[in-house]
Amino acid sequence: MQVDWSIMFDFIPQLIAGAKVTIYITVLGLIGGIILGVIAGLMRAYSGKILNAIDFTYIELIRGTPIVVQVMFLYFVLPVLADIRIDPMSAAVLAIVVNAGAYIAEIVRGAFLSIHKGLTEAGLAIGMPHWQVLLYIVGPLAFRRLIPPLGNQFIVSLKDTSLFIVIGVGELTRTGQEIMAANFRAVEIWTAVAICYLIMTGTMTIALRAVEKRMKIL
């Protein structure tokens, strides 16, 4: 079979539909992941022994297992063990939330703890409660250091959605595979799929660079 690049254009509507699902899972998953990650990260950095131990366990469980196994747990194991049934889409979003949350927690913890201790002491010394010191002094400084590693995680999570092919979510990679199954145009299809991913990750990179540029690291 001859390679015919023009055929790529025929798949565009299908690929866009797949990319939309990818974006949907990524955006929802990352919003949840950021919320979970910030809470878990601050807990790791500042809470007492028990909360810290729970948090540590969560982070290590997630970092120590592949995301494919995690989504399998959510989709196939939870119904059996806990009688909780969720659809593939929810399982996919939840997998990103839980997975990105663990990595973001470590990023948040690292960023907050990297801020010079003297600044926290200066805030406490003027009589501010600890939460105010974190909110007004340490937080804004940590945020600047958070952006580059956070951007990295966003891109990783976006690409991780391709693994949800295992539970049959119709995202971009699965869309590619379905088209493939119909016409066997491997070269054209996987090239098109790759380009779609590059456009999405490239947009993210450019957006993050713009944010980074506007914020001086202090």
Binding site: G118, E121, I126, G127, Y136
Partner: protein, 242 residues
């Protein structure tokens, strides 16, 4: 009761005993200068006063408030005891005016406009009238330290704690900070100062404390003991700092 009272206090970091059964009373209006060899516990003693370090034995009372009485009381103590650090520790993302206004706004509940007006007055006082819109990184060390003093004063403390405020500064910048401190002392501010500037101690100090191995070895009038140290190790120490 004295304004600040250390009642048989001890402080240990794990197995390391840093302060041992210290008794010390400081009255309002006093300017207490703390000296002593590195590691003798000067910073720790100072930081126990505003609870940046928690004492592990005894009791410490500031203006009737015990450092053991809980978080809220501790915050009250901190509002009464301003602190100036060796490394300035200004908030780098804020202008100097914002640095000075932050405490009154968040801690004393002063409205923004009023807090900034007071902050400007304090910047005037420390000789930095025109630096309000500058960021800390744009200032010299001496200027930064004067902003730090203004920031501490903004909360209207009754006592000021200084931990080697001029040690990180080049010699030619020390004096501008010392001048602000001398001025404060002359206005009657209660001060506890860790410093090696013996001229400061002689000019405005009401007491000189020489610390050694976590204990107060000498506590006397600065002019008397600087010229005739009662203790051979203090004599040795002074010969090194001057």
């Amino acid at each position: 009761m004295s304004f600040i009272e250390f009642k048989n206090i001890s402080k240990a970091f794990g197995p390391l005993q840093v302060l041992t059964e210290v008794d010390l009373s400081i009255e309002q209006g006093e300017v207490v200068v703390l000296i002593g060899p590195s590691g003798s516990g000067k910073s720790t003693l100072l930081r126990c006063i505003n609870g940046l370090e928690m004492i592990t034995g005894g009791d410490l009372v500031v203006d009737g408030l015990s450092v053991h009485a809980g978080k809220k009381t501790l915050r009250e103590i901190r509002q009464e005891a301003g602190m100036v650090f060796q490394q300035f520790n200004l908030f780098p993302q804020m202008t100097t005016l914002q640095n000075v206004a932050l405490g009154p706004r968040k801690v004393r509940g002063v409205a923004k406009a009023e807090a900034e007006k007071q902050a400007q007055e304090l910047l005037d006082k420390v000789g930095l009238s025109d630096k309000g819109e500058h960021y800390p990184a744009e200032l010299s060390g001496g200027q930064q330290q004067r902003v730090a003093i203004a920031r501490a004063l903004a909360v209207k403390p009754k006592v000021m704690l200084f931990d080697e405020p001029t040690s990180a500064l080049d010699p030619e910048l020390k004096q501008e900070v010392l001048n602000v401190m001398l001025q404060l002392a002359k206005e009657g501010m209660t001060m506890v100062v860790v410093t090696h500037e013996m001229s400061f101690a002689k000019q405005v100090g009401t007491r000189l404390i020489f610390m050694e191995h976590g204990k107060i070895a000498v506590d006397d009038d600065p002019r008397t003991v600087i010229d005739t140290p009662p203790n051979p190790r203090m004599k040795d120490f002074l010969s090194h700092v001057e």
